[in-house]
Structure formats: structure tokens, C-alpha cells
């Protein structure tokens, strides 16, 4: 009688085991080795650290892998050389700009087909841009289009359409701006300027950007599969107007763990390894006979920097800020922490950016001068301060620890406060975050993207600089509407000099190269002009 119970337990366990093995066996063995070519199909397998969440580029400010590959823009920022870009015709074959710099007329290419077979018309462009500004969309990327006339009223729900958007005929669209805005074309060339198909997008409703079959663009790849938090699959668009891509399929696997990514790459399960995910592996790859010739490196049009919060004492004193600038040995940071893959930054703008000033003097590492400045400011024995950072950011922690030691050498006792990401950004937005290290790389090729982003009055608070120099900030607004590019760049260079050298509101660190390691069969892999991890894969080839 009693043994019956024991038997029952074992029967139960056996049944459960059978169910488990059945369930495990249920999933199809659809996985393939990276770059494999079943039936001659060329597949490129890459890794993403987080799931992009949406393919609707209007709703994200950073998940650009899918948009860069499945949509096109009126104008494209094409990488012409490492760290260099040029604006070239995209969906628009040409454009005219009125003499006052306010009216842009785009002439669309004829015969460009969306993935659903519809032909691209001017109305699709109007629909796309108006959708971004429509409050119902809850778009995050409106900064790239809010200079269009009527955008403000549209975003505030005071108008049902955007007055500055006008269809002239099926292949011509006219966009009027409130004021001249020189980087407008560059803004349209960002992923945020991606063009949607009215019919497909309206029909898709909230499924757009989520369900592959409902997400339609004109780009070289189609979104064909998406298992959330697991993988995104793109397949070649055979009817692409510039010709079919060489690779048939891109599989982007979501792998949050950096060590796992590296092992997958070495095991042949990934075709590309982004060294940003494991900087400590750079010496291994550069020294390995197997991999050293497989490294693809490119400059990043971006700058690593420290932000100083001027509303926190004693950072309201420019001498203290300058002392911090002089305390940091930038070259040592590059050599020790980044294995020499970068250059010392002298300002805000990065090499490769339009308007970059190569003639800035640079800030020397001069602890004696720093001490002198601190003494002058009334802090002969230094002071205590806090450097904020997000927890679980080993690369940032390394920089902060090194800088903590350098500051200690001039008498400043810095404490590193590691914060939860949500608390960090919330505090920063309130303008209350103490000094912190961050980096910025170009969304579009214009000084506005670097300087206005940080130092326009509201932006300066939202990024916890709390910089206030009325003259500089008036000049920033002036530069936005200037149309003579040479004069405009000159003004930006003056502004940059004032911010970095006179007001010491920005502590430049360095510009780093972006390194990738690719499998030998991957050819023509180029780092994008701005050095982003998210890049277009249209020109990448896989050797059979």
C-alpha cells in the first residue's frame, strides 16, 4: 500500500520529464551557424546587446540597426572615407533650396518601390513627416523635424496637419521652415528622416514597427522575422532601387552578455564582434595571429568628456573648473585604458565633423598649474567632490578611478557615486547630477549637433552642465539660422573656444576609434562615418 505513493512520485517525475523533453524538442532546430550558406544563401550574423524594441524610428532615439537597413531617406549621409561623410541623393534625386534658406523642394526618384510593391510618392514623404509631428504618435525624434513651419502647432495639437509640408506633384515635395536652418538636410539624413509608406503604415496601426509583415520601407532589406529578446531577421530586398544587396539575410541575435558574445564570435556563431562590448579584449585580438588581420577600425566622430555642474560649489568658480581640466593626463588614459586607439581631444567637436577646428591649442596635463589655480580660488588644500556614474559600467568606472587618482594628486578628493541608471538620468535631467563622464557621437554632420545639444540653455540644464553665458547662448541661436557656411563654422569655432578655454565648462578627454573584428568570409565591412555600432549593411559582402 505504502509503496504505491513512492511509485506515484516516480510516475509523476517521469511524466514531467517526458513533458520537458517533449517541450524542449518542440522548438524547431532553426538555428544555423553564423555566415552559413544553406542552399547558397549568404547569411550575416551579428549581435545586439538589447532588443531594439521597435523598428519605428520615430519612437526611438537609439535603436537604429533596423531603420538603417530597411528604410531609406530623402538624403543619405554616405561614408566616403574613415570618419568622413558626404550628403548624397537618396530617395530624392535632387533638391533646390530657396535663396532665403527657408524653402526646400525635393524631386523624388521615380520607380522606387516599397516592400509592399507600392511606388514611392511625395504623399508618402508628407505622411511620414506629419506622422512624426502628430501628437498621437508620441514620437521621440521630433527634434530633427521641429524646424518645419507649423511643426509646433501640430505637436501641440493645435493643427491637424503641418503647414510647412506641401505636395507639389507625385514626385515633388516642398518643405518650408520657420527660419533658415543650415543643418536641415543633414537632419533629414539621420535615421529619424526614414520614409514610410502611407498605405502600409496606416493599415498597420500599432503593429507598425513591431510585426515584421506590417513594417514596410524601401530599403535594401526587409524586416522578415522578430522573436523578441532573441533575434531579428532581415532578408534582402531583391527589388531594391540601387540593386540587390550581396548578402541574402542578416540575423541579429540579442546577446546581452559581453563574454557570451565574444565566445560566440570565436566559436563561429557570430560574424562580427564589436570591441566596444569588451574593450579588455582588444589586446587579445590585436596580438592573436588568427584575428589581428581581421580587425576593422574606424574613427568615431565623437568625443569623450567630463561634464561639470556649475551650480554645485565650488564649480561655480572658473578657476576650479580650469584646475580640473589641467589635472587630467589624457594621453595616459588613452594608452592605459584604451590601448592607444585614440587621440587627445582639444574641444567639443570631433575630427571629421563639419566645422571641426584642428587649430585649438589643447589642454596640457599640468598638475602644478592646477594646484596654483586651486590656491588662487581659495582651495589650497583642495576640496571634496563627487563623480556620478551608472552602476555596472566597467569602462566608465575605469576612467573615473583613474581620474579620481589624478585629481587626488592635486589635492581634490573625489568620491565615485555609482547610481542606478534610472536615478542617474532622472537626476541629470533635473540639472542636479554632479560631475560625470560621458561620450557623444554625431547624429548628423554639423556643429549644431555637438554644441547646441549641450549648451543651449534648456539642454545645458537637462544635461546638468548648468552653463549660463548669455553671449555664447545668443550666438548659438544666431549660428543656427546662418546660411553662409564658412561664417557659420567660424562662429561655432569661436563659441567652442569660449566654452572650453574661457569658461572651462567642458572637460574634453579623447576621441576613440571604433574596433570590430570580423570573420574572414566577411568582406567590405566598413565602420560608419560616425562610428556607430548600428550601421547599414548594404555594401557588406560574404565570400562563398
Amino acid at each position: 500500500m505504502k509503496s504505491r505513493y513512492v511509485k506515484k512520485i516516480f510516475v509523476l517525475m517521469t511524466v514531467l520529464s517526458l513533458v520537458a523533453s517533449l517541450l524542449a524538442g518542440c522548438s524547431s532546430g532553426s538555428s544555423k551557424q553564423a555566415g552559413s550558406q544553406q542552399g547558397g544563401e549568404k547569411t550575416l550574423t551579428i549581435a545586439l546587446t538589447t532588443d531594439p524594441g521597435t523598428a519605428d524610428v520615430q519612437l526611438t532615439t537609439d535603436a537604429y540597426f533596423i531603420p538603417l537597413n530597411i528604410y531609406d531617406r530623402l538624403v543619405e549621409a554616405v561614408t566616403t572615407a574613415p570618419g568622413k561623410s558626404e550628403l548624397k541623393p537618396g530617395l530624392a534625386e535632387r533638391w533646390d533650396i530657396s535663396s532665403d534658406g527657408k524653402v526646400y523642394t525635393f524631386h523624388l526618384r521615380k520607380g522606387v518601390k516599397f516592400h509592399n510593391g507600392e511606388e514611392l510618392k511625395a504623399d508618402d514623404v508628407l505622411y511620414t513627416f506629419d506622422r512624426m509631428l502628430d501628437p498621437k504618435t508620441k514620437a521621440l525624434n521630433t527634434d530633427f523635424l521641429d524646424m518645419i513651419a507649423g511643426a509646433k502647432d501640430r505637436m501641440e495639437g493645435k493643427a491637424d496637419s503641418t503647414s510647412g509640408l506641401k505636395v507639389i506633384d507625385d514626385y515633388t515635395i516642398q518643405i518650408t521652415l520657420t527660419e533658415p536652418f543650415a543643418p536641415f538636410l543633414a537632419c533629414l539624413a539621420t535615421p529619424a528622416g526614414s520614409i514610410y509608406n502611407r498605405k502600409a503604415t496606416e493599415a498597420a496601426g500599432t503593429d507598425f514597427g513591431v510585426k515584421p509583415e506590417a513594417t514596410v520601407g524601401t530599403g535594401p532589406f526587409k524586416l522578415s522575422g522578430w522573436t523578441f529578446n532573441s533575434e531579428v531577421v532581415l532578408t534582402a530586398n531583391k527589388d531594391y532601387f540601387l540593386g540587390k544587396p550581396d548578402i541574402d539575410k542578416i540575423v541579429a541575435k540579442v546577446v546581452p552578455d559581453a563574454d557570451t558574445q565574444r565566445m560566440m564570435f570565436e566559436n563561429g556563431e557570430l560574424d562580427v564582434f564589436d570591441c566596444d562590448n569588451a574593450l579588455s579584449q582588444i589586446p587579445y585580438f590585436t596580438k592573436s595571429d588568427k584575428w589581428k588581420n581581421q580587425i576593422v577600425s574606424g574613427p568615431r566622430v565623437g568625443t569623450y568628456y567630463y561634464a561639470i555642474n556649475e551650480s554645485i560649489k565650488p564649480f561655480d568658480d572658473v578657476r576650479v573648473r580650469k584646475a580640473i581640466q589641467y589635472s587630467i593626463d589624457r594621453q595616459l588614459l588613452i594608452d592605459r585604458l584604451y590601448y592607444g586607439i585614440g587621440t587627445v581631444a582639444k574641444g567639443i567637436m570631433a575630427p571629421g565633423l563639419a566645422g571641426y577646428n584642428p587649430d585649438l591649442p589643447g589642454i596640457p596635463y599640468d598638475p602644478a598649474k592646477a594646484k596654483e589655480l586651486l590656491k588662487e580660488a581659495g582651495y589650497p588644500n583642495g576640496f571634496n567632490m563627487t563623480i556620478a556614474q551608472i552602476t555596472d559600467r566597467p569602462n566608465t568606472l575605469k576612467i573615473n578611478e583613474a581620474v579620481q587618482a589624478m585629481l587626488n594628486d592635486v589635492g581634490i578628493k573625489a568620491e565615485i557615486n555609482q547610481m542606478d541608471e534610472a536615478a542617474y538620468f532622472a537626476t541629470r535631467k533635473e540639472g542636479k547630477l554632479p560631475m560625470y563622464q560621458a561620450d557623444w557621437s554625431a547624429d548628423f554632420n554639423d556643429p549644431d549637433n555637438f554644441i547646441y545639444t549641450f549648451f543651449a540653455p534648456r539642454n545645458s540644464v537637462a544635461r546638468s552642465f548648468n552653463y549660463a553665458n548669455a553671449q555664447v547662448q545668443a550666438d548659438l541661436e544666431k549660428a543656427r539660422v546662418m546660411t553662409n557656411m564658412d561664417e557659420r563654422y567660424k562662429l561655432y569655432q569661436e563659441i567652442e573656444k569660449k566654452i572650453v578655454y574661457d569658461d572651462a565648462a567642458w572637460v574634453p578627454l579623447f576621441h576613440l576609434n571604433h574596433l570590430f573584428v570580423v570573420q574572414p568570409k566577411v568582406k567590405n565591412f566598413k565602420v560608419s562615418w560616425n562610428g556607430w555600432s548600428n550601421m547599414p549593411y548594404y555594401e557588406v559582402k560574404i565570400e562563398q
Partner: protein, 307 residues
């Protein structure tokens, strides 16, 4: 019995409501703004204010809570803040089968290894095999999952090339994560089975059974094991419930799109609807797990009766 089950289900309703209230209000007290977190480095103060208003995030907390619960009662768990247009229920429904597969495979390993190891260790107390199993169990309990995962990936994928490093596309992908996850559970089951069996094996009725001339295996399996299984069943039920609510680290290291990663994403992004959804789901599972354990008691020990 049916009355008892119904009573337990009814009493769990206030528990679920209580938990949703606590998390909803707690997440509003801790610093963090979902729209700021959507934009991070690309923050634009104007956009943040506009989108917050469009998402009704400036409404009073109690009003948002009532709206949320009203929807939840009608089967609408809302849409994720961060993942836009993705319905929370769909995300959970997609993620759960993966967690279920992983959990069942891990549980299978845990039971198949843990119970026999515990029995053998108890019968052969202080022998080499006892020390071996208990050392193995100690290793399983003390080793952090991410570490054992990395070691296994290194050996079985990198060196031997037998299994894929990460992903979730077929049976071979489940082997390593299931072993990693099952090992620590197996370890606690083995230790508990051993100690509990050792306690019973010294009881008078076991001596009587031996005195009757029964064979040792009959004594162990027919008399001792059943009586020592109660605490083991408790721990097994709790383990299943906790495994089903998601093994965050294992899911991250092996790239498994399960419930654990979903919950962590939700907390990191202050994604209230997604967090509430995964939480309600998890709470229901834990309550059910405990209920199943209680029912299993009466099945194992007829003296326990529920009215």
C-alpha cells in the same frame, strides 16, 4: 478538497492586489522617469515634457493605478512604455513558453540527479560516494550561476565544440542552461533528501522493518523514503515556482528570451505596465506553486486533510 482550493484562490486575490499597489506606488517614489530613460543621452527637455503629457504620466498616481487595474480586470495589461506598441500580455505569452521549457528541463535534471544522490548519500553515510555527492552538491549551491555558465560555455562550446554558446533555437540550446540551473536546485534537493532520510532511517519503525527481515532496498524505498519526502516536496514546489518566474542571470548569459529578462528590462526602464504584468504573472505562479505543494502533502501523507 475543492472547497479548500477555492478558498485558497479567493484569499490570493487580496495578495495580488496588495502587491500591485505596493509596486505601483513604490516605483513612483524611487527616482526615475520612463520617458527620460527612453531618450537617455539624446534627452530633449521639450520632447520629454510633451511625450509625458501624451502618455498621461503627469496624472496623479492613484488615478493611473485605477486606470491600470480597470484595464487589467478586463484582461488588458496595457502596452509597454519602453517597447512602444507592444502589448504586455503578448510579451508575457511569448516569453513564458521559453521560461517553461527551461524550467522543466532544469527541474527534470534537479530531480533526476538530486533525489537519487540524496538517497545514496543517506544509505552510504560517510562513505566516499556520500562525500563525493555532498561535495558536488556544495559546489552546486555555492557556485554563482554566471560563473558555472561561463565555465560550461568555455568547455562545451569553445573547447569541445559540442554545444552552441548561446541562443534558443532548438533542443541542443537548452542543455547547458538547464544543467547550470538544475545543478543548484539538484544540490539543495540532494542535501535535503539526505538529511531528511537520515532522520527517518533512525526511527523505530525502520528498525522494526529491518527486524522483520525486509531487504535493505525495501526498507529504504517502501518505509523510509515516503516519510522523508515531505520537506523535499515543499522545496521542489517552491523551486518550480521560482524557476517559472524567470532565471534572470541564466536567461541573460544564454540569451534566452524568457520572463526573467522581461522583468529586469521593465525595472531598468521604469516600465510600469510591463513590470506590473510580469509581477502579477509571477505572483499567480508562486501562489499556484504553493497550492500544488499543499495538495501534494495530502497525497503523500493521508493524515493531512484539508477541509
Amino acid at each position: 478538497m475543492i472547497g479548500y482550493v477555492l478558498k485558497r484562490i479567493l484569499t490570493s486575490i487580496p495578495v495580488i492586489i496588495g502587491i500591485t499597489v505596493i509596486t505601483f506606488f513604490l516605483l513612483n517614489v524611487v527616482p526615475g522617469d520612463p520617458v527620460v530613460l527612453m531618450m537617455k543621452e539624446h534627452i530633449s527637455p521639450d520632447v520629454v515634457e510633451r511625450v509625458k503629457a501624451e502618455m498621461h504620466l503627469n496624472d496623479p498616481v492613484y488615478l493611473r493605478y485605477i486606470k491600470y487595474m480597470w484595464g487589467a480586470l478586463h484582461g488588458d495589461l496595457g502596452t509597454s512604455y519602453k517597447l512602444k506598441n507592444r502589448k504586455v500580455l503578448d510579451l508575457i505569452i511569448d516569453a513564458f513558453p521559453n521560461t517553461l521549457k527551461l524550467s522543466l528541463a532544469a527541474v527534470l535534471i534537479a530531480w533526476a540527479v538530486g533525489i537519487p544522490a540524496g538517497i545514496v548519500s543517506a544509505i552510504k553515510q560517510y562513505s566516499f560516494i556520500d562525500n563525493f555527492f555532498m561535495g558536488f552538491a556544495l559546489l552546486g549551491v555555492s557556485m554563482p550561476v554566471f560563473w558555472s555558465a561561463l565555465i560550461m560555455q568555455y568547455i562545451f562550446s569553445m573547447k569541445l565544440g559540442l554545444l552552441p554558446v548561446s541562443g534558443f533555437a532548438g533542443p541542443k540550446y537548452i542543455i547547458m542552461p538547464a544543467i547550470v540551473l538544475g545543478w543548484s536546485s539538484a544540490a539543495s534537493i540532494a542535501r535535503l533528501t539526505r538529511s531528511s532520510l537520515l532522520e527517518v532511517i533512525r526511527a523505530d519503525y525502520i528498525r522494526t522493518a529491518r527486524a522483520k527481515g525486509l531487504k535493505e532496498w525495501q526498507v529504504v524505498f517502501h518505509h523510509a523514503l515516503k516519510n522523508s519526502m515531505l520537506p523535499v516536496v515543499t522545496i521542489m514546489a517552491i523551486q518550480i515556482a521560482s524557476l517559472l518566474s524567470g532565471a534572470v542571470i541564466t536567461e541573460s548569459v544564454f540569451g534566452i528570451p524568457g520572463i526573467g529578462r522581461l522583468s529586469v528590462n521593465a525595472i531598468q526602464n521604469r516600465d510600469m505596465p510591463l513590470l506590473q504584468g510580469t509581477l502579477i504573472f509571477t505572483v499567480v505562479l508562486v501562489i499556484l506553486g504553493n497550492l500544488v505543494a499543499d495538495i501534494a502533502y495530502s497525497y503523500l501523507d493521508p493524515r493531512i486533510k484539508y477541509e
